[in-house]
């Protein structure tokens, strides 16, 4: 088994707010992230796939295809967007880094051809990142 990781970057804005909480609870739990006008990050996405090396091509996965799938399914939807308002998953779910990693996984998992999705890592900043390995 060989693991291959491809990176991508996207920039987006978001804010954290749960309509079930009072304004005071929202502010206490989410702090600065609760500002309703939003704020932004440069996110780095790392997608790791696994599989056996194809003896004919020497590839685990065709990187061009992986790049195209990542661009189409994730970056086109999230890059330079206000996640709360423009990405369907976040209309009723808070766009925390945890939920972004889960959304990216769900967008990619059925779209990959030869290799199997192993991990989605989303960096919100260089000092904060989330890994998601699927629902199992």
């Amino acid at each position: 088994m060989v693991y291959l990781t491809r990176k991508a970057e996207f920039s987006a804005s978001h804010y954290y707010h749960n309509p079930d909480f009072t304004p005071e609870e929202n502010l206490r739990i989410f702090g600065k992230c609760n500002n309703p006008n939003g704020h932004g990050h440069n996110y780095t996405l790392e997608v790791t796939v696994k599989g056996e090396v194809d003896p004919r091509s020497g590839f685990v996965v065709d990187l061009k295809q992986l790049k195209e799938v990542m661009n189409r399914e994730v970056l086109d939807a999230m890059d330079h967007r206000f996640l709360n308002k423009e990405v369907p998953e976040f209309l009723d779910r808070i766009p925390t880094t945890e939920n972004i990693a889960i959304a990216v996984w769900q967008r990619l998992v059925t779209k990959l051809q030869s290799a199997k999705l192993h991990r989605v890592r989303v960096y919100e900043t260089p000092d904060l990142f989330v890994d998601f390995y699927g629902e199992a």
Binding site: N18, I29, I94, T96, E98, I102, D131
Partner: protein, 140 residues
Amino acid sequence: MKAHLSRRYLFSASHRLHSEAMSVQENQQTYGKCNNPYGHGHNYTIEVTVSGPVDEQTGMVCNLTDLDGFMEREVLARFDHENLNTLKKFTEEVPTTENLCIQIYEIVQRGFPLAHLERVRLEETMMNSFEYSGAAEPVF
């Protein structure tokens, strides 16, 4: 759904690698420059990974404010701008980055109940790092 959250923290400290169980020559052979009796220092980076179900209400594994507060009080306040050899733990064992990594893991494991500790990774320089996951096999 379970996710892993990782956070990085910086601190600076000095140390000297020297074992009372070894002769002067053995210490020099084993630790080389790190055996300099006056000590030397590093900018360390701690990477803490915790895991747990993503809370439906908050979208979080745990609130970062709680993790940051804990790490500041219990880890950074203890090690930042200190000479590690003067700390009680390291009067008994050599303050290698291996031992420091295990100690930080144990502090978080014992004291932070709000998420499951997966791993502590400690970078001594940009070129070397150490990871400890307790008894568990690390997930990568």
